[in-house]
Structures are given as C-alpha cells and as structure tokens.
C-alpha cells in the first residue's frame, strides 16, 4: 500500500486526489490543508512507524510555508537519524535556489496557477512513486 500526503490549499485538490486514487488501486492519499496540519500528519506517521512514502506540497500554504515544512521535516529526520523522506514541492515559480542542496530528496515541479495543475501534480507524484518503487525493487534484488 502506497501512502501519499498531499498538502495543498488549492481548490483543485479534490481533482488531484481523485486522479491519484484512480491511477493507483493500492494508494492511500491523505489531504492536509495547511503546513501545520501537513507536518502534524507527517509526524504522526513517523511516530506510528509507517511514514508516508511521498510528501507533496504546493504553495502558498497557511500556518507554516511549504519550504518551512520541508525544513522542519528534514530537521526531525536528522534528529532521528533517518534518511530523508521524498518530497515533491510544486510551485508556480521556478525552483528555489539550492533547493536540493539544502533539502535532500526534495524535487521541484513548476505548475500553472490554475486547475490544470491538478493532473500535473498527480502525474508527477505517480512518477516519483514509480521511481521509488523501482529503486526499492533494485535494492531488494
């Protein structure tokens, strides 16, 4: 079972959720509407020992910005001696400078400021999940 946490306040969030659920049978998608709620869900999953396989964030977010959520998560991982959880940061602007150097395992996707972003975010999330699965299979072999 794949688990995705989508943190977005965009009105097209339902479309993205529906697309993800349609494309993958074995996917559980949780939706958080602001940064603090997203970080809460992520921390709860870590505490329960079943962390989300992918964290997808869009901007802007209320109550902790998207980059700060990633920064907080990376700090928590360092404290717990964990490798970084994969994150996909989706923004209408270009990738923040030095994003990967600052926050490892964080990909960036430039999206339009319209409902057309929903399929782009869903497709990118699926692609990242696919790559992670393939990597996991290679490691297991």
């Amino acid at each position: 079972m794949e688990r995705i946490l989508l943190v977005t306040a965009e009105p097209w969030a339902r479309n993205a959720l529906a697309l993800l659920r349609q494309c993958l049978d074995d996917v559980e998608v949780t939706h958080a509407i602001d940064g603090a709620q997203g970080l809460y869900y992520m921390c709860r999953s870590i505490a329960e020992g079943s962390p989300y396989g992918l964290l997808v964030l869009t901007t802007p977010l209320a109550r902790i910005g998207a980059e700060q959520v990633v920064a907080s998560l990376r700090a928590i991982e360092r404290g717990l001696n964990r490798p970084p959880y994969p994150c996909l940061l989706c923004t209408p602007a270009a990738a923040p400078e030095g994003l990967l150097a600052t926050y490892p395992q964080t990909l960036h996707l430039q999206i339009p400021e319209s409902a057309e972003a929903a399929p782009m975010v869903a497709a990118a999330a699926l692609q990242v999940l696919g790559q992670l699965r393939r990597f996991q299979e290679e490691v297991e072999v």
């Binding site: 921390c43 870590i46 700060q68 920064a71 907080s72 700090a75 360092r78 717990l80």
Partner: protein, 183 residues
C-alpha cells in the same frame, strides 16, 4: 549507542555498540527484519554520541550561551544553533519516551518566522501524541508583525520576553532559571 534501524528500531546487522563515532560511513545497511534501507553515507556529518536525553533545548546562535546557562538549570540542557535543529532534538527525546520540558529561543534566521518555529513544535508534539506541550520561551529584541503576534497569542505555553537589541543572552540567563524556579 547501538546503530538501529530508523524504521523499526532493530539493531542493524554488523553495527557495533559504540560510545562515539565519527560518521564517515560508505556502506548501505539493510534492516534484516523490515528491509528498510539506510544509506549511512548520507548521515556522514558530525559525531554521534551516547548522551542523556535532553529536557530543555536552547536554540541560539550565541556562542557560549548554552555553557553559561546549563549550570543554572536543574535539568539536562542541549544546545543547538538553529531553531529548527531543536525539532530534531525534540523528536529524538520523544523517540526515547520523553517530551521536552521547555524550548528556549533567542533568534530566528532570515526567512523563518517565529510562528513557523512554534507551530512546527506543536505539530511535532501533536503528531507524537504529547499531552502536555513544552513551554516555549523566547527572549528576543525582534518586533513581531500584528499577524504573527496574533498567531503566537493563540498558542498555549508560549512566553515572549522582549529585550533590548543585543541583550538576548543576558535576558535568557535571567529568564530561564526563573522559569524552572516557578515550576
């Protein structure tokens, strides 16, 4: 300390019990129970030590403030330079079964808001099921925007102690012991 699987806590095969180790690993370790892979090369920074669980974390870039403050407090203090690093210390304490008593802050780096830090701490606590949130004590000369002030006001157990510019260290040395004297 034992090097354990970060996913299920089982000690990793081949890992030795060590007191202190410089992290310059080039191996990829797999947990034998759950298959979780840990690329130890990524962790190759700093030093891992077996150390007591922190009860209070001081996040301040001020050199020597932690050393000066530690003898004044009746609890174990750990110092970090950046506020978000305190989250890591807090998460580690929670993993070891203990919530922090307090988080002491003096500065935030540019681009980070005070409310971001406090909200992150509260999100971490809620996620880990902490029932009594840690006291967050800020000694700062910063001026908050009305929005940020309102956000902080809504949060419980947050104490904002204003001070003159450059007096954050003195302010913390004075305020933190009082925090514990009051219980």
């Amino acid at each position: 300390m034992k090097v354990s699987c970060p996913s299920c806590s089982q000690p990793l095969e081949g890992a030795r019990s060590v007191e202190e180790v410089t992290l310059e690993f080039t191996t990829f370790s797999l947990c034998a129970r759950c298959g979780f892979g840990l690329d130890l090369r990524w962790r190759g920074r700093g030093v891992a030590r077996a150390r007591p669980v922190a009860q209070v974390v001081l996040a301040s870039p001020m050199e020597g403030l932690g050393d000066a403050l530690a003898p004044l407090l009746p609890v174990t203090l750990e110092s970090v330079s950046a506020p978000l690093d305190a989250l890591g210390v807090y998460a580690r304490a929670l993993r070891q079964g203990r919530a922090l008593d307090a988080l002491l802050l003096t500065h935030v780096p540019p681009g980070l808001r005070w409310s971001d830090v406090v909200l992150s701490v509260r999100a971490l606590e809620e996620g880990f099921g902490v029932t009594t949130p840690a006291v967050v004590c800020v000694v700062s000369s910063a001026r908050l925007s009305p929005e940020e002030h309102a956000e902080l006001k809504d949060l419980t157990r947050v104490y904002w102690l204003p001070c003159a510019a450059g007096a954050e260290g003195e302010g913390m040395l004075s305020a933190a012991p009082q925090l514990f004297a009051q219980g």
